[in-house]
C-alpha cells in the first residue's frame, strides 16, 4: 500500500510549495549510480530497485532526487519538452509534471500532479526523469524526446 498523504499542502507564505514535506527517504540504484530519493508518496518509488539497509549505510549518493506528489494539480500529462540554460535542465510535461535537473549540484527536483497514476508515471514520467539523470551522467538519454542540443541550439 503506497504511503501518501493526500491532504493538500497550504501555507500562506509558501505559495510556491517549496516547503511541502517529503518525509520518505530512500537510496535506490539507478544504472551504476546510487541516488538518494526524497518524496511524499511511496508510489513514486515503485520503478526502482531498493538497496537493503545494510548496503546503504556507507554509501554516498551521486544524485539527489526530490519528487513531490502535488495533490492540488489536476489534469493530464502533455507532450514533453526539455530545455537547458547553463547547468539547468528543465522538463515540462504540462503543469502536472515539472522537473528540473541541476547538473552542477546533481539534484533533480520534480512536482508530479495528483492525477498522474502509477501507470502514466512509469510509462511517461519516469523515463523523462531517468533521461535527465542520464544526461547529467554524461550519457545519451535513452528516451524518444529531443534533448536540449536538438531543441535549444546552445546554452547562450
Amino acid at each position: 500500500m503506497p504511503l501518501y498523504d493526500h491532504t493538500p499542502y497550504s501555507h500562506p507564505l509558501d505559495v510556491l510549495r517549496r516547503f511541502m514535506p517529503s518525509p520518505l527517504k530512500t537510496l535506490i540504484k539507478f544504472e551504476k549510480e546510487i541516488i538518494l530519493v526524497e518524496t511524499n508518496d511511496s508510489s513514486l518509488l515503485l520503478p526502482f530497485g531498493y538497496l537493503d539497509s545494510q548496503t546503504t549505510s556507507a554509501i554516498s549518493p551521486a544524485f539527489h532526487w526530490k519528487l513531490l506528489r502535488d495533490a492540488d494539480v489536476r489534469g493530464k500529462l502533455a507532450r514533453a519538452t526539455i530545455l537547458m540554460a547553463g547547468s539547468l535542465l528543465v522538463a515540462n510535461i504540462g503543469p502536472v509534471c515539472l522537473a528540473g535537473m541541476d547538473l552542477e549540484r546533481q539534484e533533480l527536483l520534480a512536482f508530479i500532479g495528483g492525477e498522474v497514476d502509477p501507470q502514466d508515471y512509469q510509462i511517461y514520467v519516469f523515463p523523462v526523469l531517468s533521461g535527465l539523470t542520464q544526461f547529467a551522467m554524461g550519457k545519451k538519454p535513452a528516451i524518444g524526446i529531443p534533448f536540449p542540443n536538438e531543441v535549444v541550439g546552445a546554452n547562450a
Partner: protein
C-alpha cells in the same frame, strides 16, 4: 535569459499561470506547453513559448516581468514588499497592511489628489547605487481593485471585474486612463503607514515602533529556502532600512477619499 520561441508550441490564452518552486528552482507554466524556469542561484531564466506569446507585449509587461521581479528580485537586491507606493515631490509614501485593509482603494484615492501612483500592490525596493537611501519602484501594471471598489469610484461602472493572476475577481484598470492619475515609476521611501480598517468613524495616526514595523514585514514575507541565505539577508536589510522611515499606524473608519484627505494633510505637516 534564454527563451525558445517554438512554432510547434501552442498558446492557451485562457490558461492561468501556475507556479511551483523547490530549493533554488522556480517553475512558471502558462497552459500545458509554455514554461519558464528560474534558477535563483545562478540568476538564469530559461523558457519556451509560442510565437503568439512572444509577440504579445502585454504578456511580457503584465505577466512575465512582474513574475520575474517577484521571483528573482531578492537575489539581485530588489526586494518585493507587499505595499502600495505613492509619490509626492520625490518623497515616497509606502502603504502596508493586511490583505483587505484597502491599500489599493486608498492608493487610487490618493492618486486623485496630489500624489502620483507608483504601485498599488507590490513595490520593489532596492538600495540606491549612487546615493544613500532607497529606491521604491513600481512596474506600471494595472491597478487591481476588488469588486466593491465600484461604490467609491464611479469610473469603474464601465468595467467588469475579471479573474486576476492570483485567482481573485477584480477590476484591473489603467490608473492613468480611468482615474486620470499621475503615474511614476520610482520614488524614495519617506513615510511608511500601516493601514487598519476600523468600525469607528475618524482617522487616527499613531506612531509605530520601527521594530514592530520590521516584524510585520518579516512575518509576512515569503519563506526562502536555505540555498538562498544572501537573498534572505538582503531582504532583512532592506526591510530594516524601509522601517527606518517615519512609521505610523493609520486606523480609519472613513471612506477612502476621506482617509486620503487626512493622509494628505498629515504628510503636509509631518
Amino acid at each position: 535569459m534564454d527563451v525558445l520561441v517554438d512554432s510547434s508550441t501552442n498558446r492557451d490564452p485562457s490558461a492561468k499561470a501556475h507556479f511551483r518552486g523547490l530549493r533554488h528552482l522556480v517553475f512558471a507554466t502558462f497552459g500545458t506547453q509554455e514554461v519558464f524556469a528560474f534558477d535563483l542561484l545562478r540568476r538564469r531564466v530559461v523558457g519556451a513559448i509560442s510565437p503568439a506569446t512572444a509577440s504579445d507585449s502585454s504578456f511580457w509587461n503584465t505577466q512575465l516581468l512582474p513574475i520575474m521581479v517577484g521571483v528573482m528580485g531578492t537575489t539581485v537586491g530588489v526586494v518585493p514588499l507587499h505595499s502600495a507606493c505613492l509619490d509626492r515631490d520625490g518623497e515616497g509614501l509606502l502603504i502596508a497592511g493586511l490583505s483587505g485593509a484597502g491599500k489599493s482603494t486608498l492608493s487610487v484615492a490618493l492618486a486623485q489628489r496630489e500624489f502620483s501612483l507608483v504601485s498599488d500592490d507590490w513595490t520593489y525596493v532596492s538600495k540606491d547605487a549612487n546615493k544613500d537611501g532607497l529606491i521604491a519602484s513600481g512596474l506600471s501594471v494595472p491597478v487591481k481593485l476588488l469588486p466593491d471598489a465600484v461604490q467609491h469610484f464611479a469610473e469603474l461602472k464601465a468595467f467588469t471585474p475579471k479573474e486576476s493572476l492570483n485567482g481573485e475577481l477584480a477590476f484591473e484598470v489603467d490608473a492613468m486612463k480611468v482615474f486620470r492619475s499621475q503615474v511614476k515609476s520610482i520614488s524614495r521611501p519617506h513615510w511608511l503607514i500601516f493601514l487598519e480598517r476600523d468600525n469607528r468613524p475618524g482617522c487616527d495616526f499613531i506612531p509605530y515602533d520601527p521594530a514592530d514595523a520590521r516584524a510585520f514585514y518579516e512575518r509576512s514575507a515569503e519563506l526562502l529556502p536555505e540555498e538562498l541565505p544572501e537573498a534572505a539577508a538582503t531582504r532583512s536589510e532592506i526591510i530594516r532600512l524601509v522601517t527606518s522611515s517615519k512609521c505610523f499606524r493609520v486606523r480609519s473608519g472613513e471612506l477612502p477619499q476621506r482617509t486620503a484627505e487626512a493622509i494628505d494633510r498629515f504628510c503636509n505637516g509631518a
